[in-house]
């Protein structure tokens, strides 16, 4: 194998000899440089391979042929090899990326460029601290050189700031080194570690100076104004190097020198990390400039890695896995984002939407950002999981809270940025993408995917079968060029196969009622709701992979047996649904609030799982039942995650707009299927935590109130909506509150109601949304007062909506009444009278919007521009009528679902429940015979109809007189239309209940975050001298802190 010393020799030799070619053709010099760097990369890669494949010993290279400490020695071990490979690969890619810059600037810059990486290599390898100082100087000088690659004014001034700052830092390091030499008698790092520096008077100060210099090299918040300016002003290619290679190297220095400080230094490092992580991510929220945001995010990530390093003791043997998975994700993703930012070449993130019509770039951006956020399936997800879980295991919940909080801040700005990227843009300027600029980003995204797989396998948490969905999604992504029709068929086939395997082959044999039911809702429902996809024209790029991911995420929820699998599936489903919603035309803002709420909820759930793991030491879902001491905490934390998903009162504000703005066939999916994931989660949670242990028995009571109030407010708000989709969306909030209430009653009947009702809700909510979507598909408007009289044009849709609302309103004889009836009994038996009364009231309020829905769309006079409309497409109608059939069957014979669920529940709530005599179901209170009612009703209706028919001969049909407007107003005539603001008196009487105070308070919180951040970041005055002062202050403060000064 080629010795590591050749890395230096070759780089230097090439750099020096480039001088010969200064005037010669620049391609030659670039070729030389590139070849040299490639060879260097090859050397490091070869060593890495050696360490990975066979048991390669760590080797020492002595310069000048003398043993250390008498001469400088380099070390090549596994960690060195990893870092060297990372650095050199990045160097190679950057060289490709900066090809045109370097070629334009000539040989000087090429030397500087390759010597930067030479310097970093030596810094990683060397074991002599003064030598480390020298080559650190080399790398910082070269960096200063590269900053002014483009001689922009602000680049120059920021380069000057950087010079001052790094000059001070290196002087501090130098003083520390020389003092350490005096007290320790050696410059050889191993000797320094062994020596008793810390205990000599003054020696500890020397160590302090050395380590603080290293910390400052990591650009800790707040002593990092200079670094941010560099990130912002240098060409993004350089930014990629700084955050990818230089930061990585500095981390390695810390890792190498930390032993000198000993364990006493772990905590201070950790605190520094916390300040950086929280501080810079918090300030990042206010940023508008793309490169500066990336800078903030890099500093935050470095802070996180410092935290991890300081917690190495607690992480134990997981330390390497956590550290490297997070480091590598950050290194690849951040570099990739910088490169993309260089391609787009816009400072304001608002202008990033010029990549709107470049799907490739959008995918790359998405991959990188989601990797940074640690969402599945990207490597950092596993890292974060192991990190949190191991911290939980050793009970460090402060750290967990901090880490998740910081990650949340980061999520805020990265996701908002992603949203802006997808904004539809007016300016039609075309973006030219050079191959050599996009190539590195593509490579790094491939590397990310590769590492996702590897980390997943290494973590040992994932079996191969979890990758099937991703494989299918990737396949669909590869086949994206196909027309919608074929892809839709493929998607349906996939889901059908999935449901066949899961439901038919697994659950039905196991007779696992709960999983059968939800498998039915999730997967069969998916098949139905995919049908409307046939109506879409064109390609629908990227739609189907996401759909597959979402539904496989849902299936994963049912499948999950451990908290990890559950969380994985949960995050995946959330992510996919977010990306589906954001596809909507105006869904950017609302999908942002959706993902923010979901992530906050997911983090809570995460902490909850961690807490459970801390107590029980097991990640099995059933182990939740054994949580006793922290039961309340675990319960609340996990429940919040689910409450967000079912949009309970307080965390509901994301729902209406998200449903409204999503594509018309996505809305039924999320509204009737996705929300059920929250219900399923609650059921799992309550089964294990409310039933099996009594420790947390009082929480269901609270949940019950929340459910009742959400039911009331949801329906109240639904009344006043003029947007038809929004109306149905708000009603979802109400119904979900209703289900939550049923579950939290913790009684047989309550659960029977809730579970059967989630089936029913799936049926009619899908029905309503499909019908509405089908109508919108024809009328091209969502405003309900712009419709009317469509019954003559779309009779079939009318039937769907009629059935839908009768079921929703719970009128006999349809199955909705079953819910109401069981509910009365449950409430009275349980004794929750007032909550019950509220829920009934909201149930009656539901009539108002039901009627509004059906009347304003179908009845009254028809609008002139709708006279020619046809019935909606058959692809919308097929699923509707399947659903109607389902509703009818259950209505005539509800026993078929109620009895098995009852049997299943009687495992948990023995004794109570419905007693079946024939078709009559009875409780201790009342009785009810759906079949008989249906027959009586049908008979009566038929008789009366016949009577009318006989009595009313020669009926002549006349048109309605078009007197719907009370008086025309020139502007907004619809305001005088009777269907506009239909329930004005109701609003006058009870409107206060619908006041948007929750939305306002959330917005207030969000705004005040911005305001605070805006004030804080003022101390980055932009004056290099102030930044220098920050550094000195930081050193002094840190010193005082270490020595208990304060």
């Amino acid at each position: 194998m080629v010795g590591p010393i050749y890395i230096i020799a070759i780089s230097l030799g090439t750099a020096f000899s480039l001088g010969f070619f200064k005037k010669a053709n620049r391609n030659i010099s670039f070729g030389l440089m590139f070849f040299a760097m490639a060879f260097v990369t090859f050397i490091s890669g070869q060593w890495l391979y050696a360490f990975l494949s066979h048991q390669q010993e760590t080797i020492q290279i002595f310069t000048a042929g003398f043993k250390p400490p008498f001469s400088i020695s380099l070390q090549m071990g596994f960690h060195e090899a990893v870092f060297l490979t990372m650095i050199n690969v990045l160097g190679l890619l950057s060289a490709i990326y900066l090809f045109d810059h370097l070629k334009e600037k000539g040989a000087n810059m090429m030397m500087v460029f390759m010597l930067l990486f030479m310097g970093l290599n030596v810094v990683v390898m060397t074991r002599d601290i003064f030598n480390l100082f020298v080559f650190l100087e080399i790398s910082s000088i070269t960096l200063v050189g590269l900053i002014i690659l483009e001689k922009k004014q602000d680049a120059i001034s920021s380069g000057f700031k950087y010079l001052i700052a790094s000059g001070i830092i290196s002087q501090i390091l130098l003083i520390g080194i020389i003092a350490a030499y005096y007290y320790g008698g050696s410059l050889f790092i191993n000797d320094m570690v062994d020596s008793n520096l810390l205990f000599v008077k003054g020696g500890s100060v020397a160590v302090f100076l050395i380590l603080i210099a290293v910390v400052l090299e990591l650009k800790p918040f707040p002593a990092n104004g200079w670094a941010l300016d560099v990130y912002q002003s240098a060409t993004p290619g350089i930014g990629a190097i700084v955050s990818g290679a230089v930061a990585t190297t500095s981390l390695f220095i810390l890792y190498k020198l930390l032993p000198i400080g000993g364990d006493a230094w772990l905590l201070p490092i950790g605190i520094t990390g916390v300040i950086s992580f929280l501080g810079s991510n918090f300030l990042g929220i206010n940023q508008k400039n793309a490169n500066r945001i990336l800078g903030y995010s890099s500093i935050g990530q470095v802070g996180l890695l410092m935290i991890i390093m300081s917690l190495s003791k607690d992480l134990g043997d997981k330390f390497e896995f956590v550290f490297f998975s997070i480091l590598i994700s950050h290194y690849l993703a951040k570099a990739g984002l910088f490169w993309i930012s260089g391609i787009i070449n816009k400072d304001e993130i608002g202008q990033w939407n010029i990549i709107k019509n470049k799907p490739g770039l959008i995918v790359l951006t998405g991959v990188f950002m989601l990797t940074l956020l640690g969402l599945p399936p990207f490597p950092s997800f596993y890292g974060k999981w192991e990190l949190i879980m191991n911290l939980a295991h050793s009970g460090n919940f402060t750290w967990i809270a901090i880490i998740l909080l910081g990650s949340f801040f980061e999520a805020i700005y990265l996701l908002r940025w992603f949203g802006k990227t997808l904004m539809n843009n007016e300016n039609s300027e075309e973006l030219i993408v050079k191959f050599h600029k996009i190539f590195p980003a593509v490579i790094s995204s491939f590397l990310i995917l590769m590492f996702s797989f590897l980390t997943a396998r290494w973590s040992g948490l994932m079996s191969v079968k979890y990758f099937i969905p991703f494989a299918i999604a990737l396949l669909l992504f590869a086949l994206d060029f196909l027309p919608v029709f074929i892809k839709n068929i493929m998607a349906i086939a996939t889901v059908s196969w999935y449901s066949y395997v899961l439901i038919y082959q697994t659950y039905i044999p196991e007779n696992d009622i709960l999983r059968i039911i939800f498998g039915f809702i999730f997967l069969i429902g998916a098949i139905l709701l995919l049908f409307p996809g046939f109506t879409f024209k064109g390609k629908r790029r990227g739609f189907y992979p996401l759909v597959i991911l979402m539904f496989s995420g849902l299936a994963g929820l049912i499948e999950a047996r451990t908290t990890f699998q559950f969380f994985f599936a949960w995050e995946m489903m959330t992510l996919a649904s977010y990306l589906l919603i954001i596809r909507g035309k105006n869904a950017k803002k609302t999908s942002f609030s959706y993902i923010l709420f979901s992530m906050a909820g997911a983090f809570m759930m995460f902490i909850g799982f961690g807490l459970a793991y801390f107590e029980t030491g097991s990640i099995s879902l059933n182990a939740l039942a054994d949580v006793l001491i922290y039961a309340n905490w675990v319960y609340i934390l996990v429940a919040v995650g689910f409450l967000v998903k079912i949009a309970s009162l307080g965390v509901h504000i994301w729902l209406p707009d998200s449903y409204t703005e999503a594509d018309d066939d996505v809305t039924p999916m999320i509204s009737s299927i996705l929300v059920k994931s929250g219900v399923f989660g609650l059921i799992i949670l309550m089964l294990s935590m409310s039933l099996k242990n009594a420790a947390s028995s009082n929480i269901p009571y609270i949940l019950g109130w929340i459910g009742a109030l959400s039911a009331l407010i949801g329906n109240m708000l639904a009344i006043y909506q003029e947007d038809v989709k929004k109306l149905v969306a708000y009603s979802s909030i109400g119904i979900m509150g209703y289900i939550l209430f049923g579950l939290s009653m913790m009684s047989h009947l309550g659960w029977l109601t809730a579970i059967s009702y989630s089936i029913v809700h799936f049926l009619y909510k899908a029905l309503l949304f499909l019908a509405v979507a089908g109508i919108i598909y024809r009328t091209k408007t969502r405003n309900i007062y712009e419709m009317g009289g469509l019954i003559k044009r779309m009779p079939l849709s009318f039937i769907s909506v009629l059935i839908g609302i009768i079921t929703l309103a719970g009128m006999p004889p349809l199955v909705g009444f079953a819910g109401k009836w069981m509910f009365y009994n449950a409430v009275i038996l349980k004794g929750w009278y007032f909550q019950g009364a509220i829920v009934f009231f909201s149930g009656i309020v539901a009539f108002l919007y039901c009627f509004k829905l059906i009347h304003n769309i179908f009845l009254g006079p028809i609008k002139d521009n709708h006279r020619k409309l046809k019935e909606t497409s058959v692809w919308w109608l097929i699923p509707q009528f399947v659903l109607i059939i389902g509703i009818m069957i259950i209505s005539v014979y509800p026993k078929i679902i109620l009895e098995p669920i009852g049997l299943y529940l009687s495992m948990y709530f023995p004794g109570e429940g419905l007693v079946w005599a024939g078709t009559t179901a009875s409780t201790s209170l009342g009785y009810w015979d759906a079949t008989q009612i249906m027959m009586v009703f049908a008979g009566m209706f038929g008789v009366i109809f016949i009577i009318l028919f006989l009595m009313s001969r020669k009926v002549q049909v006349v048109e309605q007189f078009n007197i719907v407007f009370q008086a025309e107003r020139p502007e907004r005539p619809e305001t005088t239309h009777y269907a506009h603001n239909m329930y004005a008196p109701y609003n006058k009487a009870l409107g206060f209940l619908a006041a948007p105070f929750i939305t306002n308070s959330w917005e207030f919180i969000y705004e005040s975050f911005h305001a605070i951040g805006d004030q804080i970041r003022k101390f980055y005055t932009g004056n290099g001298q102030t930044y220098a002062l920050h550094i000195v202050m930081y050193v002094v403060a840190f010193y005082l802190f270490i020595n208990g000064g304060f």
Partner: protein
């Protein structure tokens, strides 16, 4: 008192003072050139510290010519390592100072101003 006042301690004191003076200049002066000078002073102070650390009383430079006999050289010469280090440090300082000056020159050419407060284009 007198024995405290040996060359080493004098060297250290002077070094520290020079460092402080340099920092003061670096942090308070508004003129770019003066800031660079402040940095150079800081640098020099460090070098003084380094040299005086290696000094040993009544000893000579570590050059083994006829003045020093090789057999018990170890008893006669001062520590060569800090001198070697300071040599390197000086050159590095020289390089950085040169860079700083060229930056100042360029900034001056662009804005015709040496006032550091005029270079706050990037902030927050």
């Amino acid at each position: 008192m007198m024995e405290k006042l040996n060359i080493q301690n004098i060297g250290l004191t002077v070094g520290i003072l020079v460092i402080l003076v340099g920092l003061w200049g670096l942090l308070t002066q508004k003129n770019l050139i003066k800031i660079v000078i402040g940095f150079a002073l800081f640098d020099t102070g460090t070098h003084i510290l380094m040299v005086s650390i290696g000094y040993i009383k009544y000893r000579t430079a570590p050059i083994l010519d006829e003045a020093v006999d090789i057999r018990n050289a170890a008893k006669l010469v001062v520590d060569p390592i800090p001198q070697a280090l300071v040599l390197t440090a000086i050159v590095i300082g020289l390089g950085i100072t040169a860079l700083m000056l060229s930056y100042v020159l360029k900034m001056y050419q662009n804005k015709k101003s040496l006032e550091i407060n005029n270079y706050k284009d990037l902030k927050w």
